[in-house]
Point group: C2
């Protein structure tokens, strides 16, 4: 009788309860280990978005063209659509981090962005109209630094200077474990390294780094020059040697200012690392007061992962 | 009878108690308002020490020669003696802050100082042997920034870059209310502003600011050039114009990096501010991405007061 009653109770009330508790426990663990957010990296050419876990793993991703030439509305729609696509895959996601190449508030007001038609525009408001989630914005180079610091080459360091070498030179700085960012600063890409040097087309700052080693200085596309250099073309090799020398001067300045544990290089041009490494290191050795190490980033999707860090 | 008893009690026990309480209260207030420490600024030429209140007021001070040419022992004794003199004036002082032009730990180990024979030496230990008080060390340019931030021209700002223009160029940075300092950094004085420029005699960094506008670039003593300029000597005026231009290039770089609320100039050479101001401002206007203001420090004894801040 007693046994029967226990058996009945067990079936009717305890088992479903146990199942519920087990499920709750599983969800708790799952959330702890695989809680994911969406990270979006808005670039001049492409928008890269992904579902990123707390551990920095990209579970799923999508890349679409930015299409800046089609105007603001198209760009905004492209961003919204890529986020919606990812939200269809995982409906539980509650936060989204978005990186923009320019000066942006955490809420998404963009006061400056040179390569996309989103300057002086409240991108945050436009996206929130369509997507009712928590959305946080940040600068793309800052996000690169955050990704490096949390999951990448900067993981074991406290103070890092990150440079993204592309069309321009982006920069993000982590000082003693904290991102340093102030209304668009740091803007390391336009530091003067030769005050009476090349007339600036970018910032008004004659002889700035970017006017020397920005992608525009390569008379033809960098990829073409890169291929020629790999094939042994002396002129192409010389270009990368010079690139290394000037980048080395700039890095030395940053080292003397911040005394960083490491300088981390990313961006498209960093793929030619082996071609400019030697001259860069020579210059750094000669010019720095403090010791540091320069590391080439191996992390793919750093922009996307860094944007996700904003949302954690 | 009752009255008599109260009167007696009053005289015997209450009045002394009241006096004791009043005195304790007075001491509490006094301590709150005029708690003082000793601040010591060890320079290449002179040691300036003072009794400084929490409000940044110098109650008493003493200046002695550093005498670096007489060797380490003399310098150490000069520092100890000047502190002892001030302790004789106010025996209640329990903390001492000391600024050194070089790389120093908070406990007082000096790993680098170019102009005084105290490099690779535990100055803290040597002083503690003779003076049993709480003693904290810091870099002199950092202290200048602390003084500015707490009591001077930087008081109303959150992020400031301070430059001391003297024989060399010292630098201290307050970022969002906190001193940024890392094992000798920031070392802004040796930033390259012309990578193929003047051969460096200071840091190995060809074309660094200091090699352009350090005091050594003035063929005769700056004071003499200053007097000549004031008297209208064209060559002397030209020197200061050039000084302003190059300082402006350097300041622009710092502005683009830190986006500071203000840049504060101190040190002996800043006395010629009016002679180099115009060219400096022209250069800054041309080269900066962010807006800032440049302020000439009016605070006397900033090094001493900043050293005192360490001890509060």
């Amino acid at each position: 009788m007693l046994f029967k009653s226990i058996g009945k109770n067990f079936l009717i009330s305890v088992i479903p309860k146990l199942i519920r508790y087990a499920k709750a426990f599983y969800m708790l663990i799952a959330e702890f280990f695989i809680m994911a957010v969406i990270g979006v990296d808005v670039g001049g050419h492409a928008i890269k978005a992904g579902i990123v876990t707390k551990k920095g793993t990209v579970l799923d991703k999508e890349v679409v063209l930015t299409e800046p030439e089609k105007g603001r509305e198209t760009v905004v729609n492209n961003i919204i659509n890529v986020i919606k696509d990812l939200l269809r895959i995982d409906k539980n996601i509650s936060s989204i981090g978005i990186g923009v190449p320019g000066v942006v508030t955490r809420k998404g007001y963009i006061s400056y962005t040179p390569n996309i038609p989103l300057a002086n525009f409240d991108l945050g408001k436009a996206i929130r109209k369509k997507i009712r989630k928590k959305i946080i914005f940040g600068n793309d180079a800052d996000n690169f630094a955050l990704a490096k610091y949390h999951f990448g080459a900067g993981k074991s360091y406290e103070t890092i200077v990150c440079l993204t070498l592309g069309t321009g030179i982006g920069s993000g700085i982590i000082l003693k474990g904290k991102l340093f960012s102030k209304d668009g600063a740091p803007e390391l890409g336009h530091m003067t390294i030769k005050y009476d040097g090349a007339k600036a087309k970018c910032c008004g700052n004659d002889g700035c780094i970017e006017s020397y080693i920005g992608r525009k200085r390569f008379s033809r596309s960098p990829l073409e020059v890169y291929k020629k250099a790999l094939a042994g073309n002396k002129q192409a090799l010389k270009k990368f040697e010079n690139y290394g020398k000037l980048l080395g001067v700039a890095i030395s300045n940053f080292v003397n200012i911040f005394n960083p544990d490491a300088v981390i290089l990313g961006g498209q041009m960093s793929n030619a690392y082996n071609l400019f490494r030697k001259t860069m290191e020579e210059e750094i050795k000669k010019r720095t007061i403090f010791k540091t190490r320069v590391v080439k980033s191996k992390m793919r999707e750093a922009g996307m992962i860094g944007a996700a860090v904003l949302a954690f």
